[in-house]
Amino acid sequence: MDQAKIEKIKSLPQYQQLVKERTGLAWKLSIAMLVVYYGYIMLLAFDPAFFTTIVSGEYVTIGFPVGVGIIVFAFLLTGYYVKKANSDFDELTAQIKKEVE
């Protein structure tokens, strides 16, 4: 890629919007995942008694819905990102390519 093309792409509003939105979303979702996961690990390390709470009947403890919840949360986060990227971000990328190629 030559310098002229780099400058051209950088000056495109679509490119600036793409970088800003995607970077912002990627970091927000990454932080959400890290907070949830390390929050869970910290809870296990510092307050193990919490996990003895019974939520249903006599044998179903709170750990099960929490654990499955984290797995489902991870799946939903990736789904949200892919949906957003495959529509909005790819649309912007297509516009950028049209401008420079």
Binding site: M1, I6, A26, S30, Y37, F51, T78, N86, T93
Partner: protein, 550 residues
Amino acid sequence: MATMMKTLFAFLMTALPMLAYAAGDIEGGEKAATNWPAITMFVIFVGATLYITYWAAQRTKSAKDFYAAGGGITGLQNGLAIAGDYMSAASFLGITGMVYLKGYDGLIFAIGFLVGWPIILFLMSERLRNLGKYTFADVAAYRFKQTPIRVLSAFGGIAVVILYLIAQMVGAGKLIELLFGLDFNYAVVMVGALIIAYVSFGGMLATTWVQIIKAVLLLGGSTFIALMVMVNMGFSFETLFKTAVENREGAMNILYSGGFVSDPVNAISLGIALMFGTAGLPHILMRFFTVPDAKEARKSVFFATGFIGYFYILAFIIGFGAIALVTADMYMAGDKLVGGNNMAAIHLSHVLGGDFFLGFISAVAFATILAVVSGLTLAGASALSHDIYANVINPNATEEQETRVAKTATLIIGALAIVFGIGFKDQNIAFVVALAFTIAASANFPVLIMSMFWKNMTTRGAVIGGWLGLISAVVMVVLGPVVWTQILDMGAAIVPYKFPALFTVVIAFVGIWFFSITDKSARAQEDKDGFEAQFIRSQTGIGAEGASEH
């Protein structure tokens, strides 16, 4: 092509006498009686995968075909293949075994394995796809001086591959020894011969399809086991947990954490190793180059996360199902399972579906090992042929030369896997996996992520920081409790942490940062100037090689 067919046939033929061998060998120690349904399933699987290899071999002509399946794999297919690479025997047998042994703690481990995926998707997968060609070293070396970065990345990659391979080979040998009554050494040689055939003839296309088939079989088989467990329990988790607790003589602690993460430093460190280690595993990263574009790369991570998450939930039900249902004397040796706790899922399949289903699950477990080992071998061969040979030793190499080196490298790695597999027969394999993840997180991941995100990184920073991460990871694992105390028997560990990733990852990042900002050379300026073009390409994919011609 006829020669290739003959060679494949020869491989199949050499495998058969080994199975016949198994028949006479029923009394030896831990070995089980010959399981004919299992062997039938196993022969069907091996035959089918060799046919795929033959089919793929006819379609594997260029280097791109060999390394990246021509770039024509769809997001769903690649998602299954990634999930397949990830759901190794360690996951299927290990996680269910851990749940069987420790209850809830097994789930904690599984969650740690899963949560790295969203992070990889958000921060890495598209950029890898946009920047790379065949291996992750293409990305790490993008704007830097090629030779030192390629050597570092290839070294880190091969170290991870070999260690991971040893763990899988030892696991494979033990599993086959138990299931088929086949001698350990024959089992390892057979696995080695099969992977050399898959990888050298069929390349990435065969490896990917073997992986996809195995993932489908594994998900289907696990679904069936979990469903049968729930049928037995009247679809009530209350009944499942109650029966499990009663069979453990009232041990309620299997329902919550039994102190698995009582030490915060080890807990956080393990979390870092699992999460960032995943983002540095060469055989996983390579999969992003098999899809046509960034869109399919994203989709593949989405599918992979779904399949892996679903699989771990099933593994959890299977583990508790095994506590509740695997109670007959025939499965127990004293207070332990026959063949060790890793056999929980295998025994449960026998309880629920009889000999035939046991055979099916055993064949799936074997397929799992074959597929993962093939993926690893291909990643190692690519590091040698593409990163070292074609980019460092002989930059003018033709595609034919490079592919030939890749096939030779496959043969060498396959042979090494056999030798190490036999040599490490009685070794504790848990540390090998921990070491592989720690090295991946400490050497590969920091260089890769910083090269994509940090403008001021220079060749010098990358090389010194990367080597510091790699060396400190190896040294701290060797001086830690597992290797120093348990394996080498040298007394109290010098490094008190089982998982040193918390420290070694920081060492790598600080090293990259410090040796970059103090670098005032002309090369450093060139490295920084290259960032903009790299960044634009990583964001938009403009300039990335398309796969449309395939």
